[in-house]
Amino acid sequence: MNTDFFILMKPELSITFIIFILLTLKVWDGIKENTTLIHLTNFLLLINFLIGFIGNSTGALFNGMYHTTDLLSLEKNILNFGTLIISLQAFEWIKNHKHVIEFYILLLTTLLGMFFMVSSGNFLMFYLGLELASIPLAAIVNFDLEKIKSSEAAVKMILSSAFASCMMLFGISMLYGTTGTLNFAELPQLITGGSLQIMSLIFVFTGFAFKLSAVPFHLWTADVYEGAPVPVTAYLSVISKAAMVFVFISILNPLFVNAQNVWYNMLFLTIVLTITIGNLFAIRQNNIKRFLAFSSISQVGFILLGISSGTHMGVTASIYFLIVYVFSNLGAFGVIALVSAQTEKENISDYKAFYKNNKTLSWIITIALFSLAGIPPTAGFFGKMFLVTAGASKGNYVLIIIAVLNMVVSLYYYLRVVKAIFVDENNEPIEKVEGNIFTKASLIICMAGIILTGFASVLYDYINSLM
């Protein structure tokens, strides 16, 4: 144990430190004002985000249980950034809540879990992080304490999470049985594609599919998203998903490289189902959170498409897309959170003639949705293009044709929302909604991100250089 420990584990320690500060505040009970607490936390999160850029190094700890590279540091920065934005957007909702500190403690605990998961060099560490990330998450899904739907969502979430963890553990145990190790560094040579190992691949894959809400393991998603408070939904659909994708990237191809044919076929089927079914269900939704839930399912399909290439190009494209996805999805959720906090309206039909009283917010949500749909000049276009390009590098054009046709279908339902906002008539349109300066700042950051990350190729080149 030396200074390495502090340098390498800086992101985790930083989060832990914030959690301790919050705990101390809770015990001390000195600050009564909710707004002060929120501002303080936001400030700490900002510092935490900025620290993430300084003095990152590469190395491993605890006999390879924990390791970090520049790429992993970048991934943690992305998660930090998303959490900060969500925290800014949560202001309107949390400011009247009785348990502000608890919310943040739980939230940051899940983030800590995700960091460990991303940095894990061993299946045990990975599982520890996974559980640390899942259980508090179920608690904050239920954070609208008086709403029955929230509790229902939390129960669904915890049950499906537990089930997914079981699957994953079972898979891991088989892997241990056949190879005698759980260390990521040693596994690739030992996994030769024997039948028991394939079996374990299937179970691990299923566990991931649950967590990523890939079809056919997606059924919990919509209900949980609908029941959870909007900021938590945003957290689930952006941060939690991004973290799972990051881990998936560093487990699937690196470890199971000798079983590439097997997992490619599994992934092929999953992608087709995920994109198609996500889209088809999204068409029929009226609740805007459920709508975004299904749309995010189909987005995951596209991310898997990038991963399926099994190349650096695919990994770069997936991480790049996730950054764009953070901007776009949080842009949309920011507006929804604001409207939901002030008017409690969450249906697409409520958004009819939204443009009448809220011009800027309408454009923000429209641009965010266009970015999700992959329309230029938004960054979403570039993200989707790179994913599809990576997917096409395998030469499997059946998959590409299905994906591209689904982009057209997805355009249909995104345009439905845009139509409601701009075209449809409504006798009682949503009144003028005004966010505070932090919400506005978060939305401006998202918009800037959506417009700039596409044109500036710097980001993509940077990610590519980290491979």
């Binding site: 276009f381 790179f386 390009t389 057209v408 190729s457």
Partner: protein, 502 residues
């Protein structure tokens, strides 16, 4: 004007300037001024193009600019023009300026309207000058979604349905293009596993015959959707007739040309052998579109639908020209793009202006307009005559060139296709003359028509601009042919080389 990027940057600046305008007057004048300056820039470009060619510069593309964009994927911001693109840019500048003049009276959400219209034009300019397939695709898609909003918000009739249909079909088309482009990209190995999006480089690579056969349908049908390739033409009538005037001018005038240009520049140029292999299907579909479009027009009672269906028929000539694969036919196809762009913009403009006054587009409710609004009625008739191919107007020249090119294919199949296509002109004459006869001539059918006011200054300028352009092609087609001809020559050479190589 040798810095092509200005052609994209300037309209972009105009759109941004519109965002900062305070009232309607400011917005309109900013938009108009911007589009007029853009027209001047386009003319300057054409002038410098001539000047450069006169100095003996025979390189395929002029005024090239090339910057690396996404170096890991070899994506470049690579632009340059040849004669065809110069002409298309001129066409765009003309139609956009006239569209803005004609939309002078837009009352609802003025800022958004002009913003979206100019954003569309950015996409179009970019598409015509880019030589990198990725950049080109970026601009192609940029020119789709603003149309949805333009039609859905400011349109008339069943606007929501039409807007959605248009957006989805065009996105479907560009999706097919995307598949084709990706397949092309991964089949261009320019050494050590590096691929390229560079249009000119790909043209000089030899993509294997079987691969071409796979890729070509995606590219051609994808672009074909934009240019009303039968049976993917169904968005045209609905989209055009629901759109507000300026948007239908833009749609029919320029948007549909994106497809024609792409089918020629990307599909045919890059996949010459496949183009030959599939040419009979293209000819067949084009002929069907020409005849079907003409007869469908006969049945229409709404002026906008008449022009929309006749657009299907006229765009069939573009595809016919491309499908015939002779140099003359290709020249004819490009001329038809320009001619149809101007003519249909004028036609939609005239219909829009008449509709704004009479509040009906039904032929049987109109009548005797020549007596009350002589200027607009004359514009309508001129557009109609151009559409039916009267000598002296651009329509005649371009269709004539297509037929001459088509006749160079001596076998029975191509002869029959040519004859059938030529015969459709008779049908065109019937519907145009009938529409003009009962809507413009004859007795005044409605009391309220007596009090109509004739064209205002802005409408007059717009109409005169377009008519001058049409006449200048119709009376002196050689300048247009001269500017296109070297580039179609290059495309033909690529096809010929493909035939020898394969």
């Amino acid at each position: 004007m040798t810095n092509l990027s200005i052609l994209i940057i300037f309209p972009l600046l105009t759109t941004i300037a519109i965002l900062f305008c305070r009232n309607t007057t400011q917005i309109k004048w900013t938009a108009l001024l911007g589009s007029l300056i853009q027209l001047v820039l386009a003319s300057l470009l054409m002038y410098s193009y001539y000047a450069e060619r006169a100095t003996g510069n025979t390189s395929q593309m002029l005024f090239e600019q090339r910057y690396s964009w996404y170096s890991a994927l070899n994506i470049e911001y690579y632009i340059g023009v040849d004669g065809i693109s110069v002409i298309m840019i001129m066409l765009t500048a003309f139609v956009v300026a006239c569209g803005i003049l004609i939309s002078w009276k837009i009352e609802t959400l003025t800022k958004e309207f002009f913003f979206l219209l100019l954003l569309l034009s950015v996409g179009t300019y970019g598409f015509f000058i880019s030589l990198d397939l990725f950049t080109m695709f970026f601009f192609l898609e940029l020119a789709v979604i603003p149309k949805y909003l333009l039609i859905a918000i400011w349109g008339s009739g069943k606007k929501e349905y039409s807007a959605m249909k248009l957006a989805l079909m065009l996105m479907g088309g560009s999706g097919l293009v995307l598949i084709g482009l990706l397949a092309t990209y991964f089949n261009t190995d320019i050494g050590s596993g590096v691929h390229t999006w560079d249009l000119l480089k790909i043209a000089h690579l030899h993509i294997p015959y079987e691969t071409q056969l796979f890729i070509f349908p995606f590219l051609f049908v994808g672009f074909g959707v934009f240019t009303a390739l039968f049976p993917f033409h169904t968005w045209v009538p609905d989209g055009h007739s629901s759109a507000p005037t300026a948007a239908s001018m833009f749609l029919a005038g320029i948007s549909m040309k994106l497809g024609g240009y792409g089918a020629l520049r990307v599909a045919t140029y890059l996949m010459p052998e496949a183009a030959q292999h599939y040419s009979w299907i293209i000819v067949l579909l084009a002929t069907i579109a020409i005849i079907y479009g003409a007869f469908a027009t006969l049945m229409q009672k709404d002026l906008k639908y008449i022009n929309a269906y006749s657009s299907v028929s006229h765009c069939g000539f573009i595809l016919l020209g491309i499908g015939m694969l002779t140099k003359t036919a290709l020249i004819g196809a490009v001329m038809q793009m320009v001619s149809h762009g101007l003519m249909t913009a004028l036609f939609f403009g005239a219909i829009g202006m008449i509709y704004e006054r009479t509040h009906t587009r039904q032929i049987k409710e109109l009548g005797g307009l020549l007596k009350t609004i002589p200027f607009l009625s004359s514009v309508f008739i001129i557009a109609g005559l151009c559409s039916l191919g009267l000598p002296g107007f651009s329509g005649f020249v371009s269709e004539m060139v297509v037929f001459m090119g088509a006749w160079q294919r001596p076998d029975a199949f191509h002869r029959i296709a040519t004859i059938l296509a030529a015969a459709s002109i008779v049908v065109t004459a019937v519907y145009i003359l009938r529409a003009a006869g009962s809507a413009i001539m004859g007795p005044i059918k409605n009391e309220h028509f007596n009090h109509l006011k004739d064209a205002t200054w802005n409408e007059k300028i717009a109409s005169v601009l377009l008519i001058v352009a049409i006449l200048s092609i119709g009376l002196a087609p050689f300048w247009l042919i001269n500017i296109i001809s070297p580039d179609t020559q290059l495309i033909m050479e690529n096809i010929a080389r493909g035939a020898i190589g394969g």
